[in-house]
């Protein structure tokens, strides 16, 4: 008789942090029904609690203090509980926790304090976590949707404000469009290899490369289309067009979260599919994976376009949107570098280090925007930064740190991330891209430092409000940015064990 597998067959314990979070979201959803409208901060606290529990579990697992479950594979190889997963979990949970903190007062004062906000955030987070742990294309796809759909909703959360709704609509239509490409890509990969399991794909690719080359067309096209679908999520040029509009229109607390979380998810899945699934996919006995060239071309385009258009922006949120596009480019360098098998591990670690650094910095930067934003979503122009150093010295200092970190000035986390990524790129002989990266980050100083300049050298009102949770979030982000900048080995040690390669 067919039997439903038991929990131990599934090895559920290995996926504990993600499972705890997903279950927590469902429980809070029910609890929230009984929380009166004006006391939704209870839900916020619950959410933060759930995230903390999950974060602690993930950290325990990352530091190998506790090993959950039995072996690395759970749910019949659908979920891979390795160090990579742990690190992705930690990054996204930290982001999420910060996201809850920045939302706490923001929702109150913009009159959108609703319980749904928080558990949608939890569902997104769960989506990212499952993406990072995906051992199967199906999980990649479903988790991607679990990441995206709550984000579509959250983007339109500030209803019936027109900007918010419009950006939600754009995000949704383009998101659905690109995920159709992803589905088609996955279908082609399946068609080429006969399986959706990443490990089996890897094996199939091995024999495919060794044997005849006919299925390569399907696999190549499939990989390309998957790259499109995931490239959309991480806002890589030319799939980036939604980003500025959505970031500008969406509630800032959502942007603070999604600018990082969506990237983490997208890159985690990209690494899983490309680096774990088909690192061995080389044409004509080449030395690098077939998808490497296109990836670094995308990276170069992304860095150039993102940084250039950011120069002429006058809205902070829009500027940071282009900045986040540019950063997607830097991270893509790491992904491209992973196409050379001998640097695959190094590059993977570099990507994660970058994401970790980026998480603190970018959430921090958006938190500062939340602080200066008025209740009617105005005052997010660049000019709102004028004179901030005089009226809000601490806030301005934090913003300066974030801007320096985004530029990649040494002793900030941003530099550490760039350093590792460029190092991996050089190791992978991607020197032109590394050079483009360095040049564009010099270029980026132009607009990041303009903000610092405005805060410190120009006169203005510099109004801002930092209620406690927001102040905490900004403080944590700033400290994180600096600590990782000063002690880069904290990051490199965390990432040292990470490998995506399937053994043998």
């Amino acid at each position: 008789m067919f039997q439903v597998p038991s929990l131990s067959d599934l090895n559920v314990a290995a996926a504990l942090p993600a499972v705890v979070l997903a279950l927590g979201a469902c429980v809070f959803l029910v609890v929230d029904l009984f929380v009166p409208r004006e006391r939704k901060h209870i839900t916020a606290w619950l959410t933060a609690g759930g995230l903390s529990v999950s974060l602690v579990l993930a950290l325990l697992s990352l530091t190998d203090v506790v090993t959950f479950g039995d072996g690395e594979e759970a749910f019949f190889g659908m979920y891979i509980a390795d160090q990579f997963t742990d690190m992705v979990n930690v990054i996204v949970l930290v982001t999420s926790l910060l996201g809850v903190m920045v939302a706490y007062n923001y929702l109150d004062r913009t009159n959108m304090q609703r319980g749904e906000y928080y558990y949608l955030l939890l569902f997104t987070t769960a989506g990212v976590m499952f993406m990072g742990a995906a051992g199967d294309l199906v999980v990649v796809f479903v988790a991607l949707e679990l990441l995206s759909i709550p984000l579509y909703i959250l983007t339109g959360f500030r209803r019936p404000q027109e900007q918010s709704e419009e950006s939600a609509m754009k995000y949704f239509l383009l998101g659905a469009f690109s995920s159709a490409f992803l589905v088609y890509g996955l279908a082609l990969v399946y068609g080429a290899t006969g399986t959706s399991n990443l490990r089996e794909i890897w094996q199939a690719v091995d024999s495919m490369v060794a044997g005849d080359t006919s299925a390569q067309f399907l696999l190549l096209t499939g990989a390309g289309l998957s790259l499109v679908g995931l490239g959309f999520k991480v806002a890589a040029v030319p799939f980036h067009m939604w980003t500025p509009d959505v970031y500008q229109g969406a509630p800032t607390s959502v942007v603070a979260y999604m600018s990082v979380a969506a990237k983490v998810g997208g890159f985690a899945a990209l690494l899983r599919v490309l680096v774990a699934g088909m690192p061995n996919f080389m044409l004509d006995n080449g030395t690098s994976a077939a998808w490497m060239d296109v990836t670094w071309l995308l990276a170069a385009a992304t860095m150039i376009v993102g940084n250039f258009i950011a120069i002429v922006q006058s809205d902070l949120k829009r500027l940071l949107a282009y900045s986040s596009i540019a950063h997607a480019g830097y991270i893509l360098i790491g992904v491209a570098a992973a196409g050379v098998p001998r640097v695959a591990d190094e590059a993977t670690q570099a990507v994660l280090i970058y994401l970790m650094a980026y998480a603190f910095t970018n959430v921090g930067a958006f938190s500062v925007i939340i602080a200066v934003e008025r209740d009617d979503a105005s005052n997010t122009g660049l000019s709102s930064m004028r004179g901030l150093a005089r009226t809000q010295p601490l806030l301005a200092a934090a913003m300066a740190v974030f801007m320096l970190s985004l530029t990649g000035i040494p002793l900030t986390a941003g530099f550490v991330g760039k350093w590792f990524v460029f190092k991996a790129a050089i190791a992978a002989d991607l020197i032109p891209v590394a050079v483009i990266g360095v040049l564009t980050s010099v270029l980026s100083a132009y607009y990041y430092l303009r903000i610092v300049w405005m805060m410190y050298f120009e006169d203005g009102d510099g109004e801002a409000a930092t209620p406690r949770p927001l102040a905490w979030a900004i403080g944590i982000s700033a400290i994180g940015t600096l600590v990782f900048g000063f002690l880069p080995y904290l990051l490199s040690d965390m990432a040292r064990e990470i490998t995506l390669a399937f053994g043998g």
Partner: protein
Amino acid sequence: MEASEVSIELYVLLSAILFIMGTMGVLLRRNAILIFMSVELMLNAANLALAAFARQWGNGDGHVMVFFVMTVAAAEVAVGLALIVAIFRTKKSIDIDDLHLFRG
């Protein structure tokens, strides 16, 4: 499972044609609902390819993937239509060319 008269290639080709027609719909129509329906067409095309490949490889994974794609599509439809309704209430229009508050 006996060999079929129609080759799998043909199915995949058909699915590619339908997929591209869906793409065209997204590019060319201005009605948000129609764009959305075009996306559904694209997903269906992908499903057809999946089913064809499942047949080709003789395993059920493809069918399961089709199932998931359909379910996800259903979820997307729920959210998407809700969004369309919401935006219609504010703007009284579902012409996506009317959505251009942001640019540049």
